[in-house]
């Protein structure tokens, strides 16, 4: 049994920031993570982190851009908290050593990004996530915070109306252990592996979302899935929005700059918000103006080799190594790919969920600051702003009456559950996973319709049944990834169901969610958050109001 005041599940940007904050607030804090911190997917983020740093800029403008980007269902008080705290947090990152790119005066550089009224995206070449992740892990090392590395948390311990901690599986030894904590912070990241074509790592399986959901905390706004407009067609690997921020242009097969030509975004063009650009690209493809493999072209050839090497060195390598294309001389083929989950574990701006003792932060959480669509550069920002707030709050308000006994009981139950997974005689997890991923990418993609969504739900229900008898062929206790992937499959099923159900119920189009039957935004009926709750008979859907303050919903165009 391990016991701490604050336990952070997940060691990406948000988790690490929360750990540092909790430690500075004097709590006994530890981290438990299924990957070593530096392997976290935060490291793959490229473009930048937004903050109104400059004199001429104003955090209220940033707030407005974010509200508009969210298509008016972002909670405005939380958004204002985020944008107001942004400059302080970004400078704090720099003071912790993060190596931002610099201008001639030696100050941190900022560039333009999608959906922003001012170039306020602070960046570190095109490896901002990598720099942020490593800087935060360095700070955790500096403070000597305990990290239980390669421990896979399989369940939350919920008893007597509160969260007592978690149960985790030691990947190296196969042991199960209980972790008792007065506050458990879920910073488990996204769920891209629910889809086949995604920028996300193999580890992004929505574990935290699923665990919180089964512990009675709702998943919020899950239908809002961001499809990033520029991912490589063969692998889904991300090509940063920074390319467009630096002046990259999107072309169709007729050589037209379609964002302007066909009026998708007459003002912002390529730098419209991501949902607008993704839909535009796929429309071009559907109308016969795309290239092979449903792609359009992202052209950087007018930049010259020097500029690309200096500011976009990573995508230079990625395009060459993974798509065999040289951005200096050729346009890069790109298509929309799943990238981010605006939805997640429902929580407030301090990270508190409905369940006392449980917090959520980062991509796993839904505060909501991104509403129906997230602006580029706001995800890394969310990690540090709310990471700090959650860490501090958890340190100062953790429960003092949690029960080790409840956790011990839970360990026994989990041991039995995990062992029973080894008894199955049915299919292997990879087959079930593939079917779910395929149907989600086919039917719950950028463009959705009722029939497709219902087909997807049916496939997911079938997959659940198949999962009852899933067969783990590897019987070893040492680093059994067959087993861990089978455990993850349950998370994928829960998340896929919540996404599809939310999408089916929401009969309007807003932000990243687009319905063939209801192509307009409908504020009268749908200015609300979707809450999917777990019951033994399946998910139920409820709705909650959006926090609207000074930015009243209006027509959204770029």
């Amino acid at each position: 049994m391990k016991k701490h005041d604050v336990l952070i599940v997940g060691a990406g940007g948000a988790g690490l920031r929360a750990a540092v904050a909790a430690h500075e607030a004097g709590a006994d804090v530890a981290m438990v993570t299924k990957l070593h911190p530096v392997r976290s997917h935060t490291g793959a983020a490229e473009g930048g982190i937004n903050a109104a740093l400059k004199e001429e800029d104003d955090w209220k403008d940033h707030a407005y851009d974010t509200v508009k980007g969210s298509d008016y269902i972002g909670d405005q008080d939380a958004i204002e908290t985020m944008t107001e705290e942004a400059p302080k947090e970004v400078i704090n990152l720099e003071n912790m050593g993060m190596a931002f790119s610099r201008d001639e005066n030696g100050r941190v550089s900022q560039r333009a990004f999608g959906g922003l009224s001012f170039p306020r995206t602070t960046y570190a070449s095109d490896k901002t996530g990598h720099m942020l992740l490593h800087t935060m892990y360095e700070q955790v090392m500096k403070r000597g915070v305990t990290v239980y590395d390669e421990w896979h948390v399989t369940n939350v311990v919920r008893d007597n109306g509160k969260c007592h901690g978690v149960v985790a599986y030691d990947i190296q030894s196969g042991e199960m252990e209980g972790f008792t904590a007065g506050a458990t912070v879920f910073a488990t990241g996204g769920m891209g592996q629910v889809f086949e074509h995604t920028t996300n790592a193999v580890s992004c399986t929505g574990d935290g979302m699923s665990m919180a959901y089964r512990a009675g905390v709702p998943m919020e706004d899950m239908e809002f899935v961001q499809f990033h407009p520029t991912t490589l067609p063969s692998t889904g690997i991300l090509i940063t929005e920074g390319c467009r921020g630096e002046g990259g242009i999107l072309y169709n097969n007729k050589g037209e700059r379609f964002m302007y030509e066909y009026g998708y975004a007459p003002n912002d063009g390529e730098l419209a918000s991501r949902d607008v650009v993704s839909r535009a690209e796929l429309t071009e493809v559907q109308e016969g103006r795309g290239f092979a493999d449903d792609t359009v072209h992202l052209d950087l050839t007018h930049f010259g080799e020097e500029k690309i090497e200096e500011r976009l060195s990573q995508i230079l390598e990625l395009a060459r190594d993974f798509e065999d294309v040289d951005p200096v001389t050729e346009p890069i083929p790109v298509k929309p790919g799943q990238h981010y989950s605006m939805g997640g574990i429902a929580c407030n701006a301090d990270g508190e969920t409905e369940l006392p003792g449980m917090y959520a932060v980062g991509e796993a959480a839904c505060v909501s600051v991104h509403g129906a669509n997230r602006l580029g550069g706001n995800a890394l920002l969310e990690l540090v702003v709310f990471g700090r707030l959650a860490g501090e709050h958890a340190a100062n308000n953790h429960l003092t009456n949690v029960s080790t006994k409840s956790v011990e009981e839970a360990v026994k139950d989990e041991r039995a559950r995990i062992d029973s997974l080894m008894d199955g005689t049915g299919e292997h997890q990879s087959e079930i996973r593939q079917d779910v991923q395929d149907i989600m990418t086919e039917k719950v993609n950028v463009f959705r319709d009722e029939e497709g969504l219902m087909d997807a739900l049916e496939t997911i229900h079938e997959a659940r049944e198949r999962y009852q008898n899933v067969n783990v062929k590897d019987t070893s206790h040492t680093f059994n990834t067959d087993l861990t992937q089978t455990i993850e499959l349950r998370s994928i099923l829960d998340v896929a169901e919540a996404v599809t159900l939310g999408a089916l119920e929401r009969t309007e189009s807003r932000g990243a969610h687009w319905r063939y039957e209801n192509q307009e935004r409908n504020d009268d009926d749908w200015l609300k958050h979707t809450m999917v709750y777990h019951t033994d008979d399946g998910p139920t859907v409820e709705y909650e109001d959006v926090e609207i303050k000074e930015y009243k919903p209006k027509a959204r165009s770029y």
Partner: protein, 255 residues
């Protein structure tokens, strides 16, 4: 991308879209000794070694285990030994390798199982050089520290380290001397050493710390690390620069 030093074998892969992989296998509960399993698969265009391993795992042998996550050479999980060189499985094309393709765990690291090695010693080495920002003064602007674009550019490459372990696996002194931090840790130390924001006092202190009897001077300038680094970092040059600086400071005495 690192150059490969493959042992000369038969024809290159993907003749008729097939490949043969000889993979190191070892499951502690089941095997007394490590052994090699041969797998044949069909390939697709652009297939990487990681793709191949996953395909084998999903279609033929679900016990085959390799750490991996991002698939884009950023997380550093999947450093392995392919045809005699340390490579990342996810950015090594099957089509560029001679067959049969040998896949083994990183040399000189303890094997936990199959291609999964014990990384804790590597992490300890990284931590031993105090790899966190230690400025010896407050920011001049009251907000961020100033840093010239040139200085930022100087550390650009070394900042790219993904902790994959390839370099340390290829280093002779690191193999036998556990007090020697190894190329990754020393390159990380260099990243801070060259960062002008830390200030002169910290720079001096870092250099002194690295000048211990098992520090920077243990480097044999083999350049193995430089050859295998998937991010194009040259730890050897970083170490040599710090060594030269240290000696220059000593010689300054006489000037």
């Amino acid at each position: 991308m690192a150059t490969t030093q493959e042992t000369q074998r038969s024809e290159p892969a993907t003749a008729e879209g097939k490949a043969e992989l000889d993979v190191f296998r070892y499951i502690p509960e089941e095997d007394d000794e490590p052994h090699t399993e041969t797998y044949e698969i069909e390939t697709f265009e652009g297939m990487t070694v990681l793709d191949a391993l996953i395909k084998i795992r999903d279609e033929q042998d679900s016990s085959l285990t390799v750490r991996h996550s991002c698939r884009m050479a950023r997380c550093g999980s999947d450093a392995v030994y392919i045809n005699g060189t340390q490579r990342l499985a996810c950015n090594t094309q099957v089509s560029e390798l001679s067959q049969p393709i040998d896949v083994e765990p990183l040399p000189r690291f303890d094997v936990i199982r199959d291609l999964v090695v014990e990384m804790n010693e590597f992490y300890d080495r990284m931590e031993s050089v105090e790899p966190w920002f230690q400025p010896d003064h407050e920011p001049e602007t009251g907000e961020e520290y100033l840093q010239s674009p040139e200085n930022r550019k100087n550390i650009d490459t070394v900042l790219d380290c993904i902790w994959c372990g390839a370099c340390t696996s290829s280093c002779s002194p690191a193999a036998t001397d556990s007090d020697f931090p190894g190329p990754a840790a020393l390159a990380k130390a260099y990243r801070f050493y060259k960062d002008e924001r830390e200030g002169e006092e910290t720079r001096k202190r870092r250099l002194e710390m690295l000048e211990s009897s098992h520090g920077i001077y243990r480097c044999h300038t083999q350049f193995n690390c430089t050859e295998v680094c998937p991010k194009g970092i040259s730890p050897t040059e970083a170490i040599m620069e710090m060594s030269r600086d240290a000696v220059k400071e000593k010689l300054r005495f006489w000037r």
